[in-house]
């Protein structure tokens, strides 16, 4: 008897759900959403090193200029060209999304923490729109420009035994940024970090960092130090 009741229940639920699924199935996916615009990605030349930020395609989302979000996309950020690629399953194509059409993108890192990139105009050397990763958001943001350059190196032979003399190298740049005030470049070392503060504050900032036993040597420690100093109420001297 109990099995019979269970069967009826399951059948009933199935009938109810199937109706709803069918109702949604009438429309194409994302039919009323903004469409992604771009050009076909042309493979970069192979050298030692890697031009992309992530090893493979990562599921993520993009934000269009009007704030609309397109999600469930396979994304890959090219740190070499500062451009965002997505994989169009239907067309089987790797597409470089028009930078001008989006305001940012995000995806989850291997540790599950979301990585958020924002398109901003950079007014320093090599002016233009750049994708910055937001490391810390507040009155003053700490941003990372994940740049990978093609640099000349000692001649070497690649897998196909072709002689090459270039490689992809990291050239990450970190900036403090405040809207309306601009950018201030910071390198992940103590002196450079102190340099972005007022001379009057530098001693107190140094003390605060030491008290918290932080040694600024890399991105993680730079971020840690900034969070401590920001919590202490110190302001960045943006120039």
């Amino acid at each position: 008897m109990t099995t019979r009741i269970l069967h009826i229940l399951i059948l009933g639920c199935f009938l109810i759900c199937s109706g709803r699924i069918y109702a949604q199935d009438t429309f194409n996916r994302n039919w009323d959403g903004q469409k992604i615009k771009g050009v076909r990605h042309i493979a970069y030349p192979t050298y030692t090193g890697f031009p992309f930020l992530t090893d493979g395609w990562v599921p993520g989302q993009i934000e269009f200029n009007n704030g609309e979000i397109a999600d469930s996309l396979y994304l890959r950020y090219s740190a070499f060209k500062d451009e965002l690629l997505y994989y169009n399953k239907l067309l089987g194509s790797q597409i470089v999304i028009d930078k001008v059409s989006i305001s940012g993108f995000s995806f989850k890192g291997p540790d599950g923490i979301p990585r958020i990139f924002r398109k901003q105009y950079y007014d320093g050397y090599m002016k233009g729109d750049r994708f910055f990763e937001i490391l810390s958001k507040g009155e003053t943001d700490l941003l990372a420009y994940r740049k990978r350059n093609l640099t000349t190196t000692m001649p070497y032979k690649d897998e196909q035994q072709i002689l090459k003399d270039q490689e992809y190298t990291n050239s990450y740049q970190y900036y403090f940024y405040s809207p309306g005030k601009g950018y201030s470049l910071v390198r992940p070392n103590l002196n450079a970090f102190l340099d972005v503060f007022n001379e009057a504050d530098q001693k107190s900032v140094k003390k605060l960092i030491r008290r918290n036993r932080v040694r600024i040597t890399d991105e993680a420690s730079l971020l840690q130090a900034w969070k401590i100093v920001e919590g202490g109420g110190f302001k960045i001297l943006l120039r």
Binding site: I16, D25, V39, R40, N66, N88, V100
Partner: protein, 540 residues
């Protein structure tokens, strides 16, 4: 067995709420009841709770149910305000203003009767007028909890009116949304009927949650069966053309959303067969609701007062037209963030053929002026190829060809275009993608005429003029700059978005129009009931 019955009952109860149709009520109110052709009708719509659509339609129909004009209004907090420009060509008679939402238009509509007099003929020959016999007319509830004080029984022309509207504190808590406050000329012998058409048998369509939806069906011309996998395109020609596409599914249906357009918009909808021999038939769904079954009419004699007022209104309406006295001030459309370049991408090269020597046809134009574009017309079979900048070779497939932003596949359309016909040509020499569409290069031709006359209407191409979302408006202030020009306003005050307060001051001025006027305050309660309070006065 009992248990099984109980379970079935439980499942049925689960199923039912999704299908039961909630009783809805649309309150439709116009600024006046009597108009002259060429005037503007203002309307306020109170919508029921739980509306998921963002659009409500406002139409004008004649007594036969033929739609004359209309608009789509944006809903804010279950309310909408809009206007109808009454055509000058209307003949004298009773007309119907109706409101509905497209998704349930076949199920529910609210209709209001109005009188429109033609500006070009009077009522001399008319002794009777047709009036509606509405079996279920909507009766609003007059309340004493809204009091209008400070109104005198008589005012002089061009004098100021100051009134106070008081709302009972207990009613304030019950009111939902804004009030409609208006001061307008009234005709006491013409009490219009407002009624609702309900049909519980009909099913709901697609809800316009984000904006206006254009839909239709593609069928095969031979088999008459719905055709899947057909690409249907909607283009809104402009300096930066708007473009949408939809690939039909098994049912052959297609949908387009127009959420960022305001006012009247020209659009082209077209479908493309997957093979050259296939012929398709594109049928667009009705953009407006059908009239449904309208109630009957009865003849009613007209009074001499009515005739006199109409004659005076016709003169006033004509004068206002002559002196260009506008009823409304239109707001600028909300700022829409649109891309600064067309959907087909930034042009690699833009060529203006007018700057060069005149060339007779597109073969010559392409050869002489368009870099990386190969147009051949051997044996009257034209072909077009674009150079791929990335690979430095020509694309094998035909590029996306556009005339004034509208995609075309038949190259015969462009082969005769000489440099005199072309304003500019945008060329994209790369492989572009737009959603799931791939363009092996783009040649976008913008014609000098820009009237899309080269694209003939067919079963696969339809040109439409769409009434998209109405712009927000407010009542124009009377102009005091020229004292010699008479102020002929029949509507003295109109504020459909008055925030309810315990005490509200109302200030306006009478015009040179004499006669009976009415001050009205209307509001909706949380349970959907519409309340009103009104007071009459005379302008002498």
């Amino acid at each position: 067995m009992k248990k099984i019955s109980l379970i079935i009952l439980f499942l049925t109860s689960l199923w039912l709420p999704g299908n039961t149709q909630q009783k809805s009520f649309y309150g439709l109110y116009t600024d006046r009841d009597i108009y002259v052709s060429g005037e503007t009708l203002l309307a306020k719509i109170f919508l029921p709770e739980g509306i998921s659509s963002s659009i409500v339609c406002l139409d004008l129909m004649n007594m036969n149910g033929t739609r004359i004009t209309g608009g789509s209004l944006s809903i804010h907090n279950n309310e909408a305000e809009g206007y109808l420009l009454l055509p000058d060509s209307l003949s004298t008679g009773t007309y119907l203003v109706r409101t509905y939402q497209k998704h349930n238009a076949s199920r529910i509509k609210t209709i209001r009767e109005i009188w429109i007099s033609s500006r070009f003929d009077g009522l001399e020959k008319i002794s009777q007028i047709k009036r509606i016999i509405a079996p279920n007319s909507i009766q609003d509830k007059e309340t004493t909890q809204i009091t209008i004080t400070g109104i005198q029984p008589e005012y002089k022309t061009n004098s100021s009116i100051e009134a106070n509207i008081s709302i009972d504190e207990s009613l304030l808590k019950e009111l939902d949304g804004n009030l409609l406050v208006s001061v307008a000329q009234t005709e006491q012998t013409f009490n219009p009927v407002s009624f609702q058409i309900e049909n519980n048998q009909s099913n709901d369509g697609i809800i316009e949650k984000k904006g206006i939806i254009i839909s239709g069906t593609i069928t095969d011309k031979k088999t008459l069966q719905p055709e899947p996998n057909i690409t249907v395109c909607l283009t809104i020609p402009d300096s930066i053309p708007g473009f949408q596409y939809y690939t039909t599914r098994k049912d052959g249906r297609f949908y387009f959303l127009l959420d960022q357009y305001y006012g009247s918009v020209q659009a082209v909808v077209q479908c493309f067969a997957n093979n050259p021999n296939q012929r398709l038939n594109m049928k667009l769904d009705e953009l407006y609701a059908d009239p449904g079954t309208l109630p009957g009419f009865k003849l009613q004699p007209i009074s001499e007062d009515f005739k006199t007022n109409i004659t005076r209104n016709i003169s006033a309406g004509t004068f206002r037209k002559v002196f260009g006295q506008e009823t409304l001030v239109y707001s600028s459309p909300p700022k829409v963030i649109r891309d600064s370049y067309p959907y087909y991408g930034k042009a690699t090269k833009t060529v203006d053929p007018q700057l060069f020597i005149e060339l007779p046809n597109f073969t010559e134009v392409a050869r002489e002026l368009l870099p990386g574009v190969k147009f051949r017309n051997y044996n009257d079979e034209p072909s077009l190829q674009v150079l791929n900048n990335a690979t430095h070779s020509y694309f094998e497939d035909n590029p996306l060809i556009l005339i004034d932003g509208i995609p075309v596949r038949d190259l015969n359309i462009i082969k005769g275009m000489g440099s005199a016909d072309i304003d500019r040509v945008d060329i994209c020499q790369n492989e572009r993608f737009y959603g799931d569409m791939r363009f092996p290069g783009v040649v976008a031709i913008y014609s000098t005429k820009a009237d899309y006359s080269m694209l003939a209407e067919s079963s696969q191409l339809a040109r439409l003029t769409l009434e998209t979302i109405q712009l927000e408006t407010k009542l124009a202030e009377p102009s005091n700059t020229e004292p010699n020009i008479p102020d002929l306003r029949q509507l003295l005050y109109w504020n459909p978005t008055t925030r309810p307060n315990q005490n509200m001051a109302l200030k306006c001025r009478t015009s040179t129009i004499e006669g009976q006027f009415k001050i009205q305050v209307r509001g909706k309660l949380k349970d959907g009931t519409i309340l009103f309070s009104e007071k009459n006065f005379e302008v002498k």
